[in-house]
Symmetry: D2
Subunit: 300 residues, 4 copies
């Protein structure tokens, strides 16, 4: 909180020299910034607060609700992607928030997320009061120079979601329905590939993995909702003027920037459980990579 | 949350190469690490949630309670110092938590603090429900190579606390008791020095600044409590073997380290509002700079 | 020099822990790396060694000869651009030399350049022996995420070359032919724009700036020479598969990589004084941005 | 070279934005900076230029002469230590050269060293002309927070010098006088400790390792020479006001700083081959760690 007193003081004290030891990492301009956060000690935390296995819908909904809070408080964010107890948030490559200082960006995202997570806890877990150690998250910022790298990052997380969820679904089926203990289930899965796990699920437990909830299989994609582009479009990953540009973004006029900001702030934050690896998601929502707010959809 | 599935997979996907873009800043060994966090937009937040001016005891008590939570969850911390909506936390120079990775250290401290702040809010503000935008904090890690630099950092914050509090106390007295508006109060204080402000407080409002609460004047010091050293001691700032050493700390035996950790975890976290600029505070509590747990005080 | 002795030792000494204080900055993958070096104290150095003003052809030829040396010793370099006492060297975005460690890259370029500069000095200045303080250069590495940014960097230097050379040509004409001293010349040029300077040169000294040597007006571009692409080509700055790719370069087979390396090593290093702002230069030499060696031109 | 033209121009071109991509690493204040450089490809280089094995006195003398050049051109340096084809240079913890920017410091040291090395080559190798690939060096800056860490760094290098030299001396004796080839010598030394090597040297070749030249056994220490302190002194490694201080160095008056600078510039650069692990070296030369020029010795 900037304090009024600062306005007038000229000097302060002989100790003030210590300020010169602060170092800031200004992230490379014209590059996509991803802040990924992870639950700290959530293995223990989820056990203590009795999360259902392999997936606890309440816990995932709470993660998504916290992500919506983050997207609302930080209009510079263009996308969120969450799975299990991790969430990734993407700042546009032209973002200049906090002068792109790494520590400001990562701590602000992590703190805002934590704040909503704890505040909304009782909404999603009305019967399970929080008790210390409380939930917390750590985070890191990563920079990606191209749209391809960024999309590969998101694809990486979604592939991981699938791999982990298939494993965990099978692992817990063996325990919950197959009567195994953890070690036996581990052993049973050792060396298996995807088709093996699908087969185990289906033949032994009658579970068709394809029918599992999309949220578990695909994770959660969080973004501002504008009117989608519906016609057929070039779906290539190659750069368009909007996404690669000259690296020297045309600065919006002040009025235009203000209008833009307001449109963003008014946009509904959507949470969907869909494929973000293929082009379709991105082609229909050009505002995500362009960073330019689209047209708000008509209210029904 | 490390997932069981990780244990067996060898490869993952063609997207995994993006992991190579992550960069970590490993903070310089043998140096003191300070993580300072600040409330984001607390000017507005405090107005909306009707904090008393110039100081709201409930808000400061909540900050301190959150700091205690942080100290308890992170036994590597040796000290906290808080004032207004900021808090500084100190890791010992020999600390190896998270391999001293900057982003892990700063986001973990900030997230844990936020978690306690929101969780404990209703205890300190039972009649004021939180509503978005929720409180959040940003943070940064700073490295100090010597004990002198570290103590100067803490002194800097405590001097700042004093300067700001004297200003704010006078400023709000002029408004609350002197009938001025903000601009008039600002103008009245322009160019004044400490003695002027003391004089205004005393002659116009009968306020003796010295009698103001210590928490407002000195801020809050948070540390683990062991038996204090009471005898006369050399109080110099010069380095002692324990505090400067060779930079190559003798590794404790595994048993000793475990015992140490347990003693720390059992120590009560004290919150005091006392001078940390002079030597006395540090001399009586040698465990703070030595990083070695002291003897737990007897229970009364 | 790796020493044989290292092979067998297991430990070394209790002092070896200091190695843990070393920090490396691994430059962002999939980004163009520019190392720019500048002469240290060359104002004084050039005066002492009687460089001709405003441009000394021998000094520029020596800079270019040193740059050729650097390009030959570091086949990873794709381009050099020099003006006055500065030279910029570009590593391809897929370069993995020294694992992209900043200090290795910048010190190696600067040291190699210095080595050739001093070694070749007497070839270009046969009558002017070097004496301390000897010539030296400092350098820095800068990372550019897109081809556009990289080309804008090169364009920036070439525009700077033009601006400085026009100024200096006029400034020294006023002194050498106009009888002014430095202060008077400075004053005469204050506030002038390009057309003013062209006019002064032409009307007062009969100098047509356009006829000045290309090396002075355009600087020096250094690159490996292969057969140029001659037909009409799309000259856009937009990314082609070769230049933007997926960020995940297809690794060449070992044999192919070796062949590639040999072709590069055999390529003649060209030095030209031509426009690098427009597309033409880049379109005719696609190997520069693709990083793939072209076909060696036939010997005449 | 700062160009006169810069003084007047206000803007430059639309390309200038690329300057914003430059990042500087300002090294931590109040910490010792070591720049260590290493010969690149010196195994090959020394073979091609027929360095004598295991040590070539001319090559070492050339390294030392280059180091003297560096110390003379950079008065901020307090110490150099060289062994084989590596040299370490130490900047005082209060040094503010180039605002402590890492790349400026490391490239300047490396470039200046290279310049002297090439320039002086023919003095030390009059019969061996240099030919491409020319000698070059890479370098890195490392920061040490305490005097102990700094001295441990220097000790580490001197211990390494001893270990390598004893190995190499024995290895080459086996080859040059024992008729072995490289592989046989390696095998003969596998698993041997120091006493074994001493024994081999003495019993098989009549070489008393202790009588080997000090330069080979101890490396080369380079520093400014003032009048030594001769009386008995406390030789502890503990910090003295001069060496640890408050971290907030009392700024010298302008006249005093100028006088200091001149004294430094006039000081002879000494090269000695002595122990720098024990206290004696440092105690007798307090100016090295204090950073304050001493009294120039009387000329004989």
């Amino acid at each position: 909180m900037p304090r009024i007193a600062f306005r007038y003081r000229m000097a302060n004290s002989k100790y003030e020299y210590v300020k010169a030891f602060e170092r800031s990492n200004y992230l490379l301009p014209n590059s996509w910034i991803v802040v990924r956060l992870d639950g700290r000690g959530f293995h223990k935390f989820s056990a203590k607060h009795r999360f259902e296995k392999p997936n606890d819908k309440r816990a995932l909904d709470l993660m998504n609700a916290a992500a919506i809070g983050v997207m609302k408080e930080l209009p510079d964010l263009i996308l969120g992607y969450g799975v299990s107890d991790e969430f990734s948030f993407v700042f546009h490559k032209d973002c200049s928030l906090f002068e792109r200082r790494e520590s400001k960006l990562s701590t602000t995202v992590v703190s805002t997320f934590t704040s909503y997570y704890v505040h909304l806890w009782s909404t999603f877990f009305p019967d399970t009061p929080l008790s210390p150690p409380l939930p917390s998250f750590d985070g890191r910022a990563v920079v990606y120079p191209s749209v391809s790298n960024l999309r590969d990052y998101i694809s990486w997380r979604q592939v991981d979601c699938h791999i982990n969820n298939l494993y965990n679904t099978t692992f817990w089926a063996l325990i919950q329905h197959g009567g195994m203990d953890g070690k036996e289930a581990e052993k049973a899965l050792m060396g298996t590939v995807s088709s093996d796990k699908n087969e185990i699920l289906f033949s032994r437990f009658g579970i068709n993995y394809n029918n599992e909830p999309e949220m578990f299989k695909k994770g959660s994609v969080v973004f501002r909702e504008y009117e989608q582009v519906l016609g057929p479009m070039s779906a290539s990953r190659s750069s368009t003027p909007a996404t690669e540009g000259t690296g020297q973004a045309e600065p919006l006029s002040k009025t235009a920037a203000e209008r833009e900001r307001k449109t963003r702030a008014r946009a509904r934050i959507a949470v969907e459980h869909i494929d973000v690896i293929k082009d379709d998601f991105w082609v229909r929502r050009p505002w995500i990579l362009s960073g330019k707010a689209g047209k708000l959809p008509k209210e029904n």
